[in-house]
Amino acid sequence: MSDDHGHDHPKHELSYYAKRIYAMRDLLIEKGVISEKDIQCQIEYQEARTPANGARLVAKAWVDPAFKARFIADPKAACQEIGIDATAINEFVVLENTPQVRHMVVCTLCSCYPRPILGRPPDWYKSFNYRQRSVSDPRGVMREFGLELPDEVEVRVHDSTADIRYIVMPMRPAGTEGWSEDDLAKLVTRDSMIGVMDALPSLPE
């Protein structure tokens, strides 16, 4: 593509990655290591896992105290109960936020994340600044997301250094009594289940 200062820009760097990746794919297919269908299957499997899974769990726990107790006691069984496949997680731990204690999850060493429940991690979760400062300045990091916690709240950071996976159960927003699970689930954002934000106070536009 040419522009108005008289020369052609080189092709965007991304095409370089794409070229290498597709070359490797072709080599692996030619050698019979994987097939194009394998890749498509994996893409479909990945796309079926989104933060909507976590939001359903949290919304149900908000309205159903017995389910909440089961969700905290045995999160994988609770997932199975409502048809969410969490079997790929070795051990799954629910961290319940309260007015006194707030939880926040990070992986300082790489990018461990509860993928079956929340899908792929966002870029900020994998970013160096989050991995660095979430353990030493969690309140400062939350502030960058727009969350200002009262001084008396205890902050608990969980660094995923092995293969335990965490979901934060945010507090149910005030004024949502009588709401349906479906509507409540719309308040439960991905970021609230990582613990850097509250659940939304009202339905998004």
């Binding site: 990655y17 490797m24 072709d26 499997y45 990945q46 790929a88 966002p122 600044n129 660094d159 092995a162």
Partner: protein, 219 residues
């Protein structure tokens, strides 16, 4: 190893910048790399620990400057070559130069993808009773191994409290060194922020890690 990947507590990289309405992938090739990684992972040619270590072994300048999924791609390529699944001259040539090794490939379709996409369990039978119980004070060891480890630098040599027991798991330090599972008890250990970061840290705040028993001694 005390590599650049062990980032907890560093500073100077600026603020966290969440992207509003971030797409799952910014470029289609990122999703391809993830799908290919998982498709290759089906063969269990290497473990998650080996794969983490392969990223840690990248040159720091590369690690710090290249996109996340490019590191995954390079990791795959390095491990595929190391394990003899493809050869370096084939990557160079862009085509197969010799037949593939016989891989333990089972049936693979969307119907049975669950069987093949799940990571193997990390649980292993206990080799003995757990040395610590919930509520015990423990001190993390001060060590600086050359091999892969999951005890971050910021949490070494500090006193914390055992919060949970997670059973016995394959030990990443051993697995990534090619020395087998060497299973050990896994604990959640909770530290006061001031124990880790000093008097300026926020009073009352806590940080927990998951710590394998060999990382711990009595506090």
């Amino acid at each position: 190893m005390d590599g650049v990947h062990d980032m907890g507590g560093m500073d100077g990289f600026g603020k966290v910048e969440p992207e509003p309405n971030e797409p799952v992938f910014h470029h289609p090739w990122e999703g391809r790399v993830l799908a290919m990684s998982r498709a290759i992972g089906v063969f269990r040619a290497w473990t998650i620990d080996t794969s983490r270590h392969a990223i840690e072994m990248m040159a720091p300048s590369f690690y710090l400057s290249r996109p996340y999924y490019e590191k995954w791609f390079v990791r795959n390529q390095n491990l595929l070559i190391e394990k003899g699944i493809v050869d370096a001259d084939e990557v160079e040539a862009g085509r197969a130069l010799r037949p593939a090794k016989n891989l333990p490939r089972g049936p693979f379709s969307l119907d049975d993808i669950d069987k093949v996409t799940k990571r193997g369990s990390f649980y292993r039978p206990a080799q003995g009773p757990a040395q610590f119980k919930i509520g015990d004070r423990v001190r993390t060891k001060n060590f600086h191994p050359k091999h892969h480890t999951r005890l971050p630098r910021y949490a070494r040599g500090h006193v914390g409290v055992v919060e949970r027991l997670h059973g016995t798991h394959a030990f990443p330090d051993s697995v990534a060194s090619g020395k087998g599972d060497d299973p050990h008890w896994l604990y959640t250990v909770r530290f006061d922020a001031q124990e880790l970061w000093g008097a300026d840290a926020e009073p009352g705040s806590k940080v927990s890690i998951e710590a394998f028993e060999p990382y711990l001694e009595e506090g």
